[in-house]
């Protein structure tokens, strides 16, 4: 992913309208966003303001009703489902509020999941998984199943899974939303380290000012648009 003039994410004039029966929900209205490479951006805003919706558009999980979503110079809003799936597996790491680990797989296997979509051999996959688990400090938990891990540990497995393919862009939807302060802080430190030491570009949705304080920039979503100012 090469970005022109250092911009990795470019969202331009994006509208997102959901239809629920006859009702139309206009969530994003002419939204613009540019995220330079290496930035750790926090997205805040009231519940239902469309933070997740925006993150999904940037992550290629959904398409805008109108407008441009360009990541690393690629127009992902124009890709087919199949192309998007392949694109996601190569370029984004996703971190979810509720971790979304597969309960039947141990930590190692969960982290390995995205690598099943690559052409790596089993040995190569194992090496990548070990590295990712080491980065999140969970090498000693590799054989543990999700239900035997604490929330904080599960989220770190989730982050290991997100970074195991070495994507440029990490998208985190309330990664600390389900964690206590201490575990949340650990996760935030980890994200911060990934941004600083590994040069990852991170977009993190959060409700927690404590979390957004760790970011390099914070934007607020209000009435379908982004502002620098907190919403009152």
């Amino acid at each position: 992913m090469t970005a022109n003039n250092g911009t990795l994410v470019r969202v331009q004039g994006v509208d997102k309208i959901f239809r629920r029966g006859s009702e139309e929900i206009h969530v994003l209205k002419g939204l613009n966003l540019e995220v330079p490479k290496g930035e750790f951006l926090a997205l805040m805003g009231p519940s239902g303001s469309g933070k997740s919706t925006l993150l999904n558009l940037i992550g290629g999980l959904d398409r805008p009703t109108r407008g441009v979503v360009e990541i690393g110079g690629e127009r992902i809003d124009q890709m087919s489902d199949r192309e998007l799936a392949a694109w996601r597996s190569r370029h984004v790491g996703l971190v979810f509020q509720f971790y979304n680990l597969l309960p039947v797989l141990n930590a190692h296997r969960n982290v390995e999941l995205p690598l099943l979509l690559t052409h790596l051999t089993k040995a190569e996959r194992s090496k990548h998984v070990d590295t990712a688990l080491k980065v999140v400090g969970l090498s000693h938990r590799a054989r543990h199943y999700p239900r035997t891990l604490s929330g904080g540990e599960q989220q770190r497995v989730g982050i290991a899974r997100a970074i195991v393919t070495d994507p440029t862009l990490l998208l985190c939807d309330e990664p600390t939303g389900d964690l206590d302060r201490k575990s949340g802080d650990e996760v935030l430190s980890l994200l911060q380290a990934l941004s600083r030491e590994h040069g990852k570009t991170i977009i993190m949705v959060t409700h927690d000012p404590h979390a957004s304080a760790r970011a390099t920039r914070t934007l607020h979503l209000d009435k379908g648009q982004l502002t620098d100012e907190p919403v009152k």
Partner: protein, 396 residues
Amino acid sequence: MIHWLSQVFSIASFNLRTIPERKGAVLASAVGIAGVAAVLVGFLSIAEGFRAAIMSSGADDIAIVLRSGADNEMTSGLTREEARMIGDAAGVARTEDGPLVSAELFVIINLPKRSTGTDANVPFRGVEKPATAIRGDIRIIEGRMFEPGRSEVIAGAGAARAFSGLEVGNTLRIGQADWTVVGIFTGGGGSAESEIWTDAAVLQPAYHRGDSFQSVHVKLTSAETFEAFTNALANNPQLEVKAMRQRDFLADQSSLLTGFIQGIGFFIAALMALGALFGALNTMYSAVAARTREIATLRALGFGASPVIVSILIESLILALAGGIVGAAAAYFAFDGFQAATINWQSFSQIAFAFAVTPQLLLSAIAWATVIGLLGGLFPAIRAARLPIAAGLRET
């Protein structure tokens, strides 16, 4: 392609690993499918065994002649003169004693069944001396052949098994006469082993049949002379008869019953299959619902929609096949070779036969299970693939 297959394989294996958490529903639907397979195999093996019993020993060089217009021996009637002309026709095998022709008559008697003690129909056949030479495979396995002119009977092995009173040395009161059982025989083709035989000349007066018969059994010089034989009969203006090869005759006689049994089997199996299909659909729909978030997560990570569909189909197929194989195997062990008697609807007589679970039956049961599995998995799989990823990720 290998890539795609490995996706399918991975997702299918994750799915299958969740089965222990859902074992109740999974077991219920597998048992439903096993039931379908067992019922199908059970019924069809009855029909199969019956058909085999009837047809196995039917020969191509034996002809059975009935009055034209008669569907079976019961409704047929022939005079001695007609029987003689049939014996003189072209193609009939001969020995020094004359043509190999047996004019036969046939009455239905009642004997108590061993299993229930209640009376059931048994065919009582009067034959002429060449009868055994015509059939060729008649063996007296106990006792001896009846003597012409005496009130003696030999009982088919199947009849002797199914009915009491047919032990050698026993005396039966049938009609106004006493008959002595002097032997047990096997062979004879079709339902012969379920019959009791005596001398036609003794049976005629006992049942006031005058000098009439119901069928003429003929040994042909070879299977190929059947056409010459039927032509000869057709060209004789004094004869109004029709001839069939024994094999065709037996198949014809059994088709109503085998068709009936198969019909019942298919009907019940189809009803059960419908039930099993809903069971499978339900199991797979809830499996998909329970895994909505997992499926959405996999899709979000970049797994394709088609591997999701195929993996769910595989899971459903594995369930169905497990059920089908267990059901078919259970039916095989329970039924194959199981001895039974049933009523032959044309002659209203008991036919002894063994359930025959053939490989084809097992395959067809497994084919049914496969279809149930595919249909039961298809709609849930499509639903799973269509789930919007973003919404699915938040599902709890």
